[in-house]
C-alpha cells in the first residue's frame, strides 16, 4: 500500500508538483493521466526518488521512503520507461537479470527467473535469451523492458508511458497482456500516460493531473460520469464519453432473456465492441454465448443505449 502525502516539487519558481496526496491500494493498477507538463512523470519519479521531493512524504507499506538508502529502495521497485532503456551491450537474459544480480541472487535462481519471465511475455528463451536488444522488434523490446522491471519480484511497479512507442495494434495487445500479468502477479502498478483511452482501459483507479495539481482520483466510471472539473471533462472528451462508459462493462452485465438472430457475441466482450458489432451488422439484438458456447440470452441495442447515457 502506497501513501503519498503532500508531495511537492519546485524548480526555482516553477511548481512542477503541487501538494499531491493519494493512497494507492495494494495490488491495484493506478493510472496517472494528464497532458505533458502536468507533473505526472515528476510525481512518479519522486516515488523511487529519481527526483527528490521539495517537501512531502511517500510511505510504502508503512516505511518512509526518505529513510531508506536510495539504491535499496530502487531495487525493490520495478521501473519501466517509454524508450525502455535496455542495455545495448547486454543480451536479453542479462538485461532481465540486472536487478536480481544487484541483489545478489544465486545464478540458478536468476536463470530460472529469466526463463519464467520470458515465457510469461511469450518470448521463447531458446530464441530470445541470447539476442541483443537491437535484434528485437519494438514490441519485443517493450516486453523485455517490462520483464526486466519485474525480474526481482517487486511489489510495486512504476511505468512511465511504457506503450507510447508502440503502434496501435501492438499497443492494444500489450495493454491487455499487462492487465493479465498484473492480475496474475498481484503487483501494485502505478502507470503514467497522456492517453485517456489507455487510462480508462487499464486503470482500477485514475488520477487526473493538470499543472502539478491532482484534480480527481477515482475509478474510471466515476471519472466518466462525474468529472470533478471542466478540465477533466475536457480530457475525457464529450464525443467519446458514452462509448468509453460502455467499454467499462461487459455483455454479462447487460444480457437479458430472449432470442436474436445472427452471429453470437461472447458474454465477456465489452459493450462498446458489441455496439459496434450491432451497428455494423444492422441488427437490433444479438445472441449471447456463455463460456461453454451455449446461448444464454441476448443483448439489445436499446439496452446498450440505455447504459451509455448519464446515470439517472
Amino acid at each position: 500500500m502506497i501513501a503519498i502525502e503532500g508531495l511537492r516539487k519546485v524548480y526555482g519558481v516553477d511548481v512542477a508538483v503541487d501538494e499531491v496526496s493519494m493512497i494507492v491500494e495494494a495490488g491495484a493498477l493506478t493510472v496517472i493521466v494528464g497532458a505533458s507538463g502536468s507533473g505526472k512523470s515528476t510525481l512518479v519519479r519522486m516515488i523511487n526518488r529519481l527526483v527528490e521531493p521539495t517537501s512531502g512524504r511517500v510511505w510504502i507499506d508503512g516505511a518512509d521512503t526518505a529513510e531508506l538508502p536510495v539504491h535499496e529502495l530502487r531495487r525493490r521497485i520495478g521501473y519501466a520507461i517509454q524508450s525502455h532503456g535496455l542495455f545495448p551491450h547486454r543480451t536479453v537474459a542479462q538485461n532481465i537479470a540486472t536487478v536480481p544480480t544487484l541483489l545478489g541472487w544465486d545464478r540458478r535462481r536468476i536463470d530460472a527467473r529469466v526463463g519464467e519471465l520470458l515465457h510469461l511475455f511469450q518470448l521463447d528463451p531458446a530464441i530470445f535469451a541470447r539476442r541483443h536488444p537491437h535484434e528485437l522488434s519494438g514490441g519485443q523490446q517493450q516486453r523485455v523492458g517490462v520483464a526486466r522491471a519485474l525480474a526481482a519480484e517487486p511489489k510495486l511497479l512504476l511505468m512511465d508511458e511504457p506503450f507510447g512507442a508502440l503502434d496501435p495494434l501492438v499497443r492494444a495487445k500489450a495493454q491487455d497482456d499487462l492487465k493479465a500479468i498484473q492480475r496474475q502477479l498481484s503487483t501494485t502498478i502505478i502507470l503514467v500516460t497522456h492517453d485517456m483511452e489507455e487510462a480508462i482501459r487499464l486503470g482500477d483507479r485514475i488520477a487526473v493531473m493538470d499543472r502539478g495539481k491532482l484534480l480527481q482520483y477515482a475509478p474510471p466510471a466515476e471519472i466518466l460520469v462525474h468529472p470533478a472539473t471542466p478540465f477533466v471533462a475536457a480530457l475525457i472528451g464529450v464525443g467519446d464519453r458514452p462509448f468509453r462508459l460502455l467499454s467499462l462493462e461487459t455483455v454479462a452485465q447487460a444480457v437479458e432473456p430472449g432470442e436474436a438472430e445472427g452471429a453470437v457475441v461472447a458474454a465477456d466482450a465489452d459493450l462498446r465492441g458489441v455496439l459496434a458489432e450491432l451497428l455494423w451488422s444492422r441488427r437490433a439484438a444479438a445472441p449471447v454465448a456463455g463460456g461453454d458456447g451455449r446461448v444464454i440470452g441476448r443483448v439489445t441495442l436499446a439496452r446498450l443505449i440505455d447504459r451509455a447515457g448519464t446515470p439517472t
Binding site: H71, E72, R74, Y79, H84, G85, F87, H89
Partner: protein, 393 residues
C-alpha cells in the same frame, strides 16, 4: 555499319577501372624513373640507375614483367581478390628486386659503397600500396582479418630481413654498424610512447569521467588541456628541463627513481601532457553519447553511481574512448622522436645523428621504424575499435 554512330566512350565503357588508371600511370612513371641510386661512399653524391642498369638481365626482365602485369590487372575491371593477390605478388617482387639491385651494384668486398632505393622504387611502392589498400577496402575485410593480414605482412617483412635479402641496401648497412644501439633505442622509444599512453589513460580517463559528471569543471579543464596542446613540442620539452632538474636535486629519492632534468623524464612528462586532452576529451564525448534513457533506466533500477559507470556507461563509451587511445598512441610514437633532442633516446637519436652527419640513410633508419610502428598501431587499434563496436547497433 554498326560503328557508324560512335557511342560515348567513357573510361567505364572501355572496361577500365578508374582508380586502376591512376595506378597504372604511377607504375609507368615509376618504371621510367631511376630504380636505385649508387654512391661510392657515404658522403658523395649518388648516380641514379634505371632498372635495366640496376638489375642483372634476368631480374630486369622479371621487373618489366611484374610492372606490366600489375598495370594490366589494375587497369582493367578485375575482381577485388585478383587485385589484392596482384598487389601482394607485386610487393614481394619489388622487395626482392631492390635487394637484388643492391647486391648487383655493390662491387664485391667494397665496404664504402652505398646503394639506396631511388624515386622510381618509391613511386612503384606507392602505386602498389594504393592497389593494395583499394582492394582491401573493396573486399570489406573485417577487423580480425585486417589484423591477421598485418601480422602476416610483418612476418614476411621479418623473414626478408632475416634472410639477408636487403643486406646490401644502405639503410641496413647503417643498421649493421649500430645494431645493439638500435635495439636499445627501440626499447627506449616504446617505453616512452607506450608508457606515456598508459599514464595518460590512468589519469585522463578518470579526469574525463569527472569532467562529464561535473558541468562546472568541464570548461576550465578543457581550456587548460587545450592550452597545453598548443605549446610546440620542442618548447615544452625544453620548458620541463628546469623544473624537473630542480625536483631531481631537491626532492629526496626523485633522482633515484629516474626523475632527471634531461633525458627520458622530461620527454615522458611532455608526452603525457600532450596525451591528456585526447584521452579526457574522448572520454567525455563517449560518456555524453550514452543514450540518456539507458542511464535513466540504470539509475531507476537501483545501480549506484559507480555501478552505472562500470556496468553501463564505460562499456558503451568504450569505442570512443578506444579511439582516443588510438589517437594518443599514434601521436606519441611520432612525437617520441623528439625525445632524442634532450637526451631521452628513442629512434630520434638516429634521425638527429643523421641530420648532423648529412647521412640520409641514418635518418631513414630512425624514421622508417617509427612510421611502420605508427602504421601498425593504427591498424591494430582501429580493428579493436571496430570489434568493440560490433556488439552495438
Amino acid at each position: 555499319m554498326a560503328a557508324f554512330v560512335a557511342p560515348p566512350v567513357g573510361i567505364a565503357r572501355l572496361g577500365l577501372d578508374k582508380l586502376g588508371v591512376v595506378v597504372a600511370a604511377l607504375l609507368a612513371v615509376g618504371a621510367a624513373s631511376p630504380f636505385a641510386v649508387f654512391r661510392a661512399n657515404r658522403i658523395v653524391a649518388g648516380e641514379a640507375k634505371f632498372f635495366f642498369a640496376a638489375l642483372p638481365a634476368l631480374a630486369a626482365a622479371l621487373f618489366a614483367l611484374a610492372v606490366l602485369g600489375a598495370a594490366a590487372i589494375s587497369l582493367f575491371r578485375t575482381s577485388a581478390r585478383t587485385r589484392l593477390a596482384t598487389a601482394i605478388v607485386f610487393a614481394v617482387a619489388l622487395a626482392g628486386l631492390i635487394g637484388v639491385a643492391a647486391d648487383h651494384l655493390t662491387p664485391t668486398g667494397d665496404r664504402y659503397a652505398r646503394v639506396a632505393p631511388a624515386a622510381g622504387f618509391w613511386a612503384l611502392t606507392f602505386a602498389g600500396s594504393i592497389l593494395f589498400a583499394d582492394s582491401v577496402v573493396r573486399l570489406k575485410l573485417g577487423p580480425l582479418a585486417r589484423v591477421l593480414a598485418l601480422a602476416l605482412g610483418a612476418a614476411a617483412f621479418a623473414l626478408a630481413l632475416w634472410s639477408g635479402l636487403w643486406n646490401e641496401l644502405s639503410i641496413l648497412k647503417e643498421y649493421a654498424t649500430r645494431a645493439d644501439v638500435f635495439w636499445r633505442e627501440a626499447g627506449a622509444h616504446l617505453v616512452l610512447a607506450v608508457g606515456s599512453l598508459a599514464a595518460a589513460v590512468v589519469v585522463g580517463l578518470p579526469l574525463g569521467v569527472l569532467m562529464e559528471r561535473r558541468r562546472g569543471l568541464r570548461a576550465p579543464a578543457l581550456n587548460t588541456l587545450n592550452a597545453i596542446q598548443t605549446i610546440p613540442s620542442i618548447a615544452l620539452f625544453g620548458m620541463l628541463i628546469g623544473p624537473l632538474g630542480w625536483v631531481s636535486n631537491h626532492v629526496p629519492g626523485a633522482a633515484a627513481l629516474g626523475v632527471h632534468g634531461i633525458g627520458a623524464a622530461p620527454a615522458f612528462l611532455a608526452l603525457f601532457l600532450y596525451s591528456l586532452l585526447p584521452m579526457a576529451a574522448n572520454t567525455v564525448v563517449g560518456l555524453d553519447n550514452v543514450p540518456r534513457d539507458v542511464v535513466d533506466a540504470a539509475r531507476g533500477m537501483g545501480m549506484t553511481s559507480r555501478q552505472q559507470l562500470f556496468s553501463v556507461e564505460l562499456p558503451l563509451a568504450l569505442p570512443v574512448i578506444l579511439t582516443g587511445v588510438r589517437i594518443v598512441l599514434v601521436q606519441n610514437i611520432g612525437l617520441a622522436t623528439i625525445a632524442a633532442l634532450i637526451g631521452g633516446g628513442g629512434f630520434g637519436v638516429f634521425v638527429f645523428a643523421g641530420l648532423g652527419q648529412t647521412a640520409p640513410d641514418l635518418i631513414l633508419l630512425g624514421a622508417l621504424p617509427t612510421v611502420l610502428l605508427a602504421f601498425a598501431a593504427a591498424i591494430v587499434l582501429d580493428a579493436t575499435v571496430e570489434f568493440v563496436s560490433g556488439a552495438r547497433p
